[in-house]
Structure formats: C-alpha cells, structure tokens
Amino acid sequence: MNRWGRLATILSFALFLLICWAPVAALLAAALSLPFSRMDAAWLPGSRRLFLLLETLGYSAAVASLATLIGTAAALYCWRRSQTLARAARMAALLTAAIPPYLHALAWLPVSAALPGHGAGELTGWLSAIWVQALAMLPFCFGIVLFALDDLDPRGIEAARICATDLRLLVRILLPLLRPAIMAAASLALLLTLADHSVPSLFSRSTYAMELFEEFSASHNAGQTLISALPLMILGLLPLVPLARFWQKAAQRPSRSAAPLPPLQTGGITALLLFASAVFVLLPALALSAALAQHFDQPSLWLQAIAAGAPDLATSAGVAALAAIIACLPAVVLSRALIAHPRTLWWMVCTPLAMPSALIGAALIWIWNRDLPLPIYGTFWMLVLAALARFAPLTVLALAAWRSRMDPALLEASRVYASPARAFARVELPLLAPALLAGGMAVFVLSLAELGASLLVTPPGRGTIALRIYNYLHYGASAAVSALAFCLMATAAIVLLAAALLWKRRA
C-alpha cells in the first residue's frame, strides 16, 4: 500500500468512527459522568419496565416469525419461476422495502379500527401492530431467503431430484440448506422491530424503544437513556450473531452460474406457497392503494397537502442523498479491510445497527449542542448525521459482500498494468459501482423515511416528510396523509427504479 493508500485507509476509518461510533462513545461518556445512584436506578428496571421489555420482545419475536414464515414461503414459490406472480413478487420486494412501517400502518389503521376493542384492546392493538410490522419486514425476509436459494449449488439439487420428490427435496435438502438464511431473515426482522416504536405507538401500544424515546424526551439525559437502553441493546446485539454467520458464508461463496432448474412442484404445498406469495404481493399493495384511493376524490386537499409537504420532501430527499453519498466514502476502503479481518471488523461495522434510533438522536445532541468551531447543531446537517449514524454500516456490508464475490484476478491485473490511482479510478471503482449503487440506495431509501432520530434533531423550520406524515397519522388516515405518503413512496420508487435500471446496465 503506498502513502496515498494508507492515507485513504486512515481517513476512511476516521470518517466511519466519527459517523457511527462517535454517538456510541458520546453516550458512554455521558453515562459514565452520571452519579452512581442514578445509574443504579436506570439500570435496574422496575416491574413495569421489565414487563414492557418482555412485551416488546414478544412482539418483536412474533413479527420476526410471521415475516420469516411468509417471506420464506413466498421465496420458495418464486424461486426459478418466471410466472407473472413470481416476477411481481420480486418487483414488490424491491419497491415495498422502501415503504416505512408507519405507512403500512396508514393502510391498516381503518381495518384495525373496525375490529372489536380497537385501540384500547390490548390484544387487537398488538395483533394489528404485529401484522403491520410483519408486512414491513416481509421484503427483507423474502429477499434474503430468495438470495440464498439462488445461491444454492444447482448440482446438489439436481442430484437430490434424481432420488426424491420435490416435497422431500424441500424438507430434507432445501430447508436445512436454507437454515442460515432463514435465521438471518428472522434476526434482521427482530433487530429492526426491536428498535422501531412507530407502529405500536400508532396502535396505542407502548414498547421499550418508545419508553427510551419518552425517557430522553422527559429527561434530556443521554447517559441515563443509554443505561435504560442497555437491556434492549443487548437483545439487539444477539440477532447480529446469526446475521454475521450468514453474511460471512454468503460473502465468501463465489456466485454460481444458474443452471436451468425447474421450480418446486410439491402438490398441496405449492398451493400454500402460492398463497403466501399472493399475500405478500397483493395485500400490502391493495391495502395501500385502497388507503390512498380513499381520499383521491379530494384533489384540492391532496394539492394542499403536497404544497405544504413539498419543502419537507425536499429536505428529506436532500438529507437522504447526502447520507447515501457520504456513506459510500468510507465504505470503499472499509469493505476491503472487512474482508481481510472479518471477525474483528464485523462487530465494529455492525454494532451501530443495534443502537435504538432515539439514542442516536440523544447522542448527536450531546455531541453537537456546544460551542464548536463547526456550527452543526440546529442545521440540516444534524439530520444527515442522524441518517448516517443509523445506516452507514449498510454500504460497508454491501460493498464487502460484492468485493468478496469479485474475481481477485481482475484487481491484480489492474495492479500489473496501471498505477494504484489509475487502477482504482478505472478498474476498482467501476467494478464496485453496482454495490455502491445498491448500498447507496439502501441508505437513501431508509434515510428518506427515517423517523426515530430525526424526531430529536430536526432543525427549526426544516421538518422532514416522515415527521409530517407521522404527526398527521395520529389523526388517522386522511387525505393529507395519503397525499404525503404518495409523495414519499413515489420518490423512493423513482429512485429505486432508476437504480435498478442502472444496475442492470452495469452488472
């Protein structure tokens, strides 16, 4: 590595640490500066908190199970099938991944209201929240399992088909082979659900993440909030273990050429899988369209809401675009290091993903709300920092996965024929482009809808579209919410489709 290479490595690590680990360090510092008595009180949860933690865990586990079950079934149906439904499911997975959970809630609030005991009913509230959150998690579970299926060695499956029916193939070969992927899908859903409080709160259910948000709102004490958050964070770190295992396996396997395998034919089971796919593709789309169309007959209200929300949408898009670009900068070098030292660096890269969003907001206030040469507090950049702190690890993961599937000879050949700078600009960067695009898009789409941390750091006069939708949603589904939700989804969809087209051209 020459001098410039070393400099780039140092800068990349420094940038990543500043983006993702400065908030963690700040919280630790704030927590350590607490008097011992307050630490003790925050760390030992009262009976109500303990119950809340258990309730949150139960809720998250239910969401993860439901989403993994439907996602796996849908992926099994769509695997190697080219029918319209299977194609639609792949498309739906791409597009609905961009829909934040609280927008699914918009679609299902009226349904939930019609159920007996709405809102106050502990059970119906929880059931509605589980259903909605599971729909939001479905695309991720579906995507992971389908990716793993596409990655299976076709020869092994052909060998099994010679001696067994597809049903036995499914039970004895496919499901055991898919176990890491299924575990990873469930873990991801669990991780994302533990940290998200938006959906349960819309159904009048409180979760531990919500409690943290309220605690910080009530005390503005980042350290105390961190100590209260420890049980949730420890729970959040657990799902990272199966995720790490799956990622390391997936990243180290070279991609195989797809042999023309026929799809699964498993009699009654196929019908079940078909049903799961249909649920996955049709229900969220139908519910959202119905919710949007419900108020479509009031074009003036739509226009009013869009006019009011346009500056917020611009802010959100600006924040998301900047976060996506900045997240890519350290990822190029960091992904290389992650492949070289997967065991140590995996935790450095992924631990920030387990941080509850409210805590990230709290930490950013703690860091930046003081006299600094960079007047960042109270500006637009606080929102960018919040998005980066939450989602920057995703670009590193995307790039590292892509890198380890790249033929190493390609980079070596460039080293033989060109200087490091030229090789980087003309060969390495273009080869990484699809992964940069994918990672950047993930950050863009998630930042566009980010809520938990933005709530705390939004600058005066600059709300985000997600905040506005969330505030309006507490009044139930209305024309204004529909219009804003439509704008948010359209923006995400346009950017995603553009990215998908670019990807197709590049890859």
Partner: protein
C-alpha cells in the same frame, strides 16, 4: 532479464518455494510444469510483485525489484501477465481493456487486437465474446509489443484442442518478434513443445531441469 536468487515463500505455514534460483535470458522462453498446488502460480506472482517474498531477491533487467520487506509495485515492473482466467475487466470493451493496460490510445490497442486476429470484436465487452476470443484478448494484453518480460499462467487451459495449436503458435511468434523473456506455467509439457527452450519442474518447493528440448 529475470533472475531469482534463493527465493523462499510459505503460504499458510507450508513452504511453497524453497530457496529457488532461476535465470531467464532475453528472448528465452522457459516452461515450468507440475501438478496443481505445487506453487507454479505463486512463483509467477512473486515475479510480478503481486506478493511479497519471505527471503531471497528478484531482479528484473538487472535491477532488484523484490527483497524481504520491500518490493517495486507491479505496475512499475513493465511486464505482461496472463492470468489463468483471462481476468479481462468486464466493464470495458476489449479495445478499452488493451488501451488501459498499455496506457495508450485506441490505435495501439486496435493494432494489438489485429495481431491477435480479433480486431472485429474490439468494441465488444468480455461477456459478449467466446472463451477462446477472450483468451486471445487477454494474451494480446500480456504480449503487447515492447513488453520484454512476459509471464503466462496456463494460457491454453480450458480451451478446445482445435484452438490450442493455433494460439500456441501465435504466442511463440509474438514472443519471438518482441524478443521477450517468458516464463510459461503449465501442467501439460506437450503445450510448450518447440516453444520453450528449457522445461523445469516444480516439486517440493524446488525447481529441477526436466529436459532440454
């Protein structure tokens, strides 16, 4: 042109090259044969500067380029390297692949492709040509004129038999025209018959003379 002095290298605790000495003159082509996993490719990678060596030194054109703890970067060694799997950059056309490697304009790149007999495919990407055509392009990159040192890592494997002789003859002609020093790694001695002046075997980390053709 190429000189290895007491070069040793271990990978993952296994000694792959054990105090190897080798010298290749200008205009000379030598072949190294042996079953897979014996360290043939590692030897080429050391000469190319893609890997550091443990002990000994390597000289190219009389100048030291590798010693323990220091090595001249690969691109500064002015060599041609044919990788086992072609390693053409998939995002560039064949012509761009050559132009990039030669650090020149398209005219020189086209000239190289013409000599390889695939000028018509210049604007195609590697994924749009056959395996044999891609191999010719990769070889054209490695053999580009004015490269005095050429390293070939199994340049004919995975090619149809009918193609092999033609490509081998073309390689020999190019090497002769450039008066290049060449190390040709293969596991089939028959491939280099009539091309390599010496054939060496690599076994237990040691190079041994096999025969003089």
């Amino acid at each position: 042109m190429i000189e290895l002095k007491e070069v040793s290298k271990s990978i993952g605790g296994t000694l792959v090259l054990d105090r190897v000495n080798l010298s290749v003159e200008q205009g000379e082509c030598i072949a190294i044969v042996g079953p897979s996993g014996t360290g043939k490719t590692t030897l080429l990678r050391l000469i190319a500067g893609l890997e550091p060596l443990d002990s000994g030194s390597i000289l190219l054109r009389g100048t030291e380029v590798s010693r323990p703890g220091w090595q001249l970067p690969p691109h500064a060694r002015s060599i041609g390297f044919q990788f086992q799997d072609s390693a053409l950059w998939p995002h560039m056309s064949l012509c761009d692949n050559l132009a990039f490697a030669l650090n020149s304009g398209k005219i020189r790149a086209l000239e190289c492709l013409r000599r390889a007999g695939i000028e018509a495919l210049a604007s195609r990407r590697p994924s749009e040509v056959s395996g044999g055509e891609a191999r010719r392009a990769a070889l054209a990159r490695a053999l580009a004129p004015a490269r005095e040192i050429v390293l070939l890592d199994e340049p004919l494997t995975h090619l149809e038999h009918a193609l092999r002789d033609g490509i081998a003859q073309w390689i020999a002609a190019e090497l002769k025209a450039a008066n290049a020093a060449c190390v040709w790694v293969t596991h089939e001695p028959a491939e280099v018959h009539g091309i390599a002046r010496r054939i060496l075997t690599l076994k237990d980390g040691q190079l041994r003379q096999m025969q003089s053709p």
